[in-house]
């Protein structure tokens, strides 16, 4: 029965992804003026013939619905067109940069959850204590700080002044690493490259903290909130009356129920992670998808921007799917 639900969610995801693609398709039509013109950077010394050729390459001479159909069919085949500035297929460029972005997102997520869970639980158990108040104040700060500024602040403190951590990049420029999966941490583990492991981890710290701070703040608050409610519930009363230890009561009986609304919120935070990802990559010079997009925007490389935005959205949809499935496992009332 659970399998049916999972398949159901998968099927629903397809029209959503199609819809996403359609919206992104219409993005390009937003540009005031001729897209090809803009891509060429108006006033470029390009012949009219060249422009015509480009126009037909981008199918701009065909009627709108035909363009859309071609666009979607190509997409289904994995073809997102060619990057204008780099003369290579967009899909390829994105695939090259994707592991870096995912590594950063995962790092941020792990950091965020590792921080949020203890804080959320302890704050709830010791409500109104100093720990609680400080944690909630910190959480408030966390959601009020723009990620780009936090990143710069951290660089200022840890890289410039204390010189503990590196400023930019993903790995030391003097370190050699053979990449297998594209995930530097994983690759250094797989190849037994200790120097690379240390270097890649050191480079991962500040960006992950920057990106994960907002997530940690929000998840901590939600977790605390639901824990408070669960700790006041009748079944916690029963657990204590049964003789369950205080630790088990909190960690097993209360937490299990508090996770249910929390997981939903974590799912929403993935969107924040993906969005903020662009900013953090720009701040830390992280060679991922975000950097690619920002460069592409300034270079007016529309196909690349289109492709990247779609990939981000698809990732978000996929992540929400995972969260949904997780939710059905956690909440016994959602079983068919």
């Amino acid at each position: 029965m659970r399998l049916v639900k999972i398949v159901e969610r998968l099927l629903v995801a397809i029209p959503i992804m199609t819809g996403v693609a359609v919206i992104v398709f219409f993005f390009m039509r937003l540009t005031p003026g001729d897209p090809v013109d803009i891509m060429m950077g108006q006033g470029g010394a390009v012949s009219a013939g060249e422009m015509e050729r480009l126009r037909s390459e981008f199918n701009l001479d065909k009627p709108l619905h035909e363009q859309l159909a071609i666009f979607l069919l190509d997409l289904a085949r994995g073809d997102m067109g060619n990057s204008f500035t780099r003369q290579r297929p967009v899909a390829q460029l994105i695939a090259e940069r994707l592991p870096a972005t995912i590594e950063l997102a995962l790092g941020a997520l792990i950091f965020g959850l590792l921080v949020a869970f203890p804080i959320g639980i302890i704050s709830a158990v010791r409500q109104n204590s100093l720990t609680d108040r400080l944690s909630m104040a910190g959480a408030f700060l966390g959601i009020s700080m723009p990620p780009f500024w936090l990143g710069i602040l951290l660089i200022l403190i840890f890289s410039v002044h204390l010189k503990w951590l590196p400023v930019q990049g993903r790995i030391g420029s003097d370190v050699h690493l053979t990449t297998i999966t594209g995930f530097y941490v994983l690759d250094s583990l797989l190849t037994g490259n200790r120097e690379a492991l240390v270097s890649s981890l050191r480079h991962l710290v500040l960006p992950s903290v920057t990106l994960g701070a907002a997530v940690a703040a929000i998840v901590a608050r939600v977790l605390r909130s639901s824990m408070l409610e669960c700790l006041r519930s009748d079944y916690v009363k029963l657990a204590r009356a049964k003789g369950v230890s205080e630790f088990s009561t909190v960690a097993k009986h209360a937490l299990r129920n508090a996770l249910i609304p929390t997981v939903t919120v974590v799912g929403l935070q993935v969107g924040v992670l993906l969005g903020g990802n662009m900013i953090v990559e720009a701040v830390f010079g992280w060679p991922g998808l975000g950097r690619l997009v920002v460069d592409a925007i300034f270079a007016r490389d529309f196909p690349l921007v289109q492709g990247a935005v779609m990939v981000y959205a698809f990732t978000f949809v996929a992540a929400n799917l995972v969260v949904d499935v997780l939710y059905t496992y956690l909440n016994p009332k959602i079983e068919m």
């Binding site: 723009p146 780009f148 660089i155 200022l156 909130s225 919120v265 924040v272 935005v309 959205a313």
Partner: protein, 310 residues
């Protein structure tokens, strides 16, 4: 038993509005009392107002040109650091422009974008939400599907995508932010409207022959306003941060108009020797957003303790 005619038993509009005024006054007094219990939130509100006033009277409280500077004055430190002066209280940037002045003028941009985008999002979202929530059926389905689709995009990605194609500028920024911004309001309004629709007074109003629009606007809407108001306050902070992020990337407000985000970006190249260029504008953002969030929290506590979860 005496019989009554219809015109005697249904209270007149004057009476009804008299009751409503007294109820409102009661609520307002209670609100005032509640406000006293949340000193931190009130402090947040005061800071917010301070920012707004500073933005409005920017010319009066600054003495330098926000967009033009002299290279003689480049990268001067703030007043409390060695080498600084009170003429440039927060220091200067790489082009010799006074940071304090730019920050104050930058408040105009941030507040304008934040408030305007949230206001438009709210109006559009609540209108659509009320429509969808009250009417249900195909309209609801259509709009909800579209909203779901928009929600498949992370907010910043969508905004960046739109800005990439629209091009930078104030109007485009507002457009990009509201295009996705209305969805949250829509969902809240729709959910609340559906819940309200099951309440008895709606049925009663319908039975007495009230026109549907009067019911929605006159009766139901006021009841869902508190939660909408809370969401509005919280979203302003979010929009301000988003605008700053876009400006940071160079996709938002263009130079030389001062915008906090682009100011932080400008300072990146000078982190080693002039940390204040990036730090000061950032502090301004944090101050404003923190104040807004604190105020919004308190508001939420007072108006709707149900809304404890984000």
């Amino acid at each position: 038993m005496a019989t009554t005619t219809a015109s005697e038993s249904i209270p007149s509009w004057r009476y009804v509005w008299g009751v409503r005024w007294r109820l409102w006054r009661q609520n307002a007094l209670e609100f005032w009392r509640e406000l006293h219990k949340h000193p931190i939130s009130v402090a947040g509100g005061v800071v917010m107002v301070a920012y707004v006033l500073a933005a409005l009277f920017a010319e009066q409280i600054t003495w330098h040109n926000p967009e033009l500077g002299s290279l003689r004055n480049r990268l001067l430190p703030p007043a409390f650091v060695a080498g600084g002066s009170w003429d440039f209280p927060l220091g200067t940037d790489a082009q010799g422009r006074d940071l304090y002045t730019r920050i104050v003028f930058g408040a105009r941009v941030s507040l304008a974008v934040g408030i305007l985008s949230v206001a438009i999002s709210m109006v559009v979202g609540v209108a659509l939400g009320a429509l969808a929530g009250y009417r249900r059926g195909r309209i609801d389905g259509l709009i909800s599907r579209f909203a779901d689709l928009l929600m498949a995009f992370p907010f910043l990605i969508f905004a960046i995508g739109m800005m990439a194609f629209l091009g930078p500028g104030f109007v485009n920024l507002i457009l990009a932010l509201t295009f996705k911004g209305w969805v949250e309001f829509f969902r809240l309004a729709r959910g609340d409207m559906i819940a309200e629709g099951t309440r008895e007074y709606v049925e009663a109003a319908r039975v007495t022959g009230q026109k549907p629009w009067r019911i929605v606007v006159g009766e139901m809407l006021p009841n869902i306003l508190p939660t909408i108001f809370v969401l509005t306050t919280l979203r302003i902070g979010f929009m301000i941060v988003t605008e700053a992020s876009l400006s940071f990337l160079g996709l938002g407000i263009q130079p030389p108009t001062p915008a906090w985000g682009s100011m932080v970006a400008d300072g990146r190249n000078h982190l080693l020797n002039a940390w204040w260029v990036s730090t000061m504008p950032g502090l301004a953002i944090v101050g404003l957003v923190l104040a807004i969030n604190l105020f919004g929290e308190g508001l939420r506590d007072i108006l709707d303790p149900r809304l404890k979860l984000e």
